[in-house]
Amino acid sequence: MTQAQYHIGVLFSQGGPYGVVSRSMYNGAMLAFDEIRASRDYAFAVTPIVADPAGRFEQYAISTSDLLGRQGVRHVVGCYTSSSRKDVIPLFEKHDALLWYPSHYEGFESSSNVVYTGAAPNQHIVPLIEFLLAHMGKRAYCIGSNYIWAWENNRILREALSAAGGTVLAERYTAVGDIDLSKMIASILDARPDFIFNTLIGTSAYRFFQDFRIACAERGIDQPAEMPVVSCSLSEPELEQIGPRAMDGHISSSVYFSSIDTPANRRFVAAYQARWPDGPATSADAEASYVAVKMLAAAIAAAGSDDVEAVRQVLPSLSLDAPQGIVSIDGRTTHAFLTPRIGKSTKAGQFEILWAASRPVRPDPYLVQTTPRYAVRNGMPALRAIK
């Protein structure tokens, strides 16, 4: 009997402003493909069809059209930014295909043509805010890349702080890829917040961490102790980009850190490092990509084909012993049950885990269980600047 062959699209940028994280996602996905290929547990073969948008926004739709149209694939693992995901979703709906989106994001979306294996906001920013209020203070300064990831996370933080009697001193946004952040840093030093909430991505973030540490040192400020930077997205490959002089002492909320000390994660990290010795290092998004491919393969096995509706039907019944712990998919929202954690970066380019949820948390992409009924009336900061 001929073994069934399934072609799976892989859509990650190998370059561009966020190429480091995106490459780690590609690596995680390809590792999973390798393991599936080497395993005898699958009665079928999966072949990745790789497309590289190279960090160019318009290329995501072009590549997706090619994958779903000419190449005829039904499942694509890919996208990092929300803007690219939102741009390709109509194509997945048109072809009734499935996008396996393996990155943390800001929520307020639930497409039946997307399986979300990255963290929803109740799995990253909500636990982070609880940690901040307990340990960091109530005066925040928000900096971010000027798109939906930053806007929405800042809105959630602003409302939570306002309800707790805290305040957002300012919100400053800059274009993705911008690395001239001197005005932003000067403004933070003037404001002296309890913490900086960072939603910058890619090269902008790395340059900020470097320049901010230098600016603080020049003024005799112990930056991690006096003005810590907290993020929902900072990962190990990004610490490598920040470099040894400024990589330590940053707080990150994530469902995965490569320092998780479990047999499943030790196996994952070892296999990843053996497969990709030149990096980038393992990260939450790499793990989510690995989980997406493994979950897709398990769903194809359970469904008996890669038919989209058949895969959708079996998804809620599956669970995976992932590097972060048990991961399963909520059938109602097609988001994943994941285990939130808070970590603090070290000079070794790792995260010391300060807190972890005791069990996987149900995804709540619309924050219906946590967000207040009413929007905050007077929560806007005095300074809200877009460079």
Binding site: S112, Y366, V368, T371, Y374, A375
Partner: protein, 214 residues
């Protein structure tokens, strides 16, 4: 009366969906459940849809239906948020949605990605319109009572010898003390403290009080 706050979380809301094409609203029902809302397809009898709206009700109504919406009290546009589900984009159908007070629309068949936006705009715009309508009503009522205010100012001027500005200030202070609008206070004042200005026995008070002399 303060301006309504923006609602962003609709958990606990109850949606009534009026349509004769349940297949066209499957994604709507699915999305409402994801948002923590309950929903039910409306029962339409004899061309009438009866609904007794509470604080957390919202009506989704198919513009291709030809039904009367009865809410028991005021017209639907004052009672509950109405979100139109647009099928045929004909003026008569769209006009029926306008008359019901629809504050947002969804295209038929409903796509889940549009639902949160329609709820957000529809419910908050309904609350803003109701607030403005209530304020307009309140101002109209107060406008009608301005006659009593003018009379009361004249009575106080006559009785106390105060000028119109001082008489108004006196009435204003007393209305605030009694926690009433100045118009309501003057209406009560005129009823209790006449006499009418054109009555010849009206006397000017000799003390610095506006109260009717015994």
């Amino acid at each position: 009366m303060s301006e309504p706050r923006i609602i962003q979380n609709f958990i606990g809301y109850r949606a009534t969906i009026a349509t004769e094409q349940p297949a066209a609203v499957e994604q709507l029902e699915d999305m409402l459940a994801k948002l923590g809302m309950s929903s039910a397809i409306a029962e339409i009898a004899d061309g009438k849809l009866q609904i007794e709206p509470g604080d957390k009700d919202v009506l989704f109504i198919d513009s291709d239906l030809n039904v009367t919406v009865e809410t028991g009290g005021a017209e639907p546009s004052r009672c509950l948020p109405v979100i139109g589900i647009v099928g045929v984009e004909a003026p008569s159908r769209l006009r029926s949605l306008m008359q019901l007070g629809a504050t947002a629309t969804l295209r038929k068949p409903v796509h889940r990605a549009a639902v949160y936006s329609a709820l957000f705009v529809g419910i908050n715009e309904f609350r803003r319109r109701r607030y403005l309508a209530d304020r307009l009503e309140q101002h109209e009522r107060r406008r009608l009572l301005r006659k009593s205010l003018v009379k009361a100012v004249l009575v106080v001027m006559q009785r106390t010898g105060a000028d119109h500005s001082a008489a108004y200030d006196l009435l204003r202070r007393e209305s605030m003390r009694s926690r009433q609008s100045i118009e309501d206070f003057c209406e009560t004042f005129i009823q209790a403290n006449g006499p009418e200005l054109d009555e010849p026995e009206t006397t000017v008070g000799t003390t610095k009080t506006y109260a009717k002399k015994p």
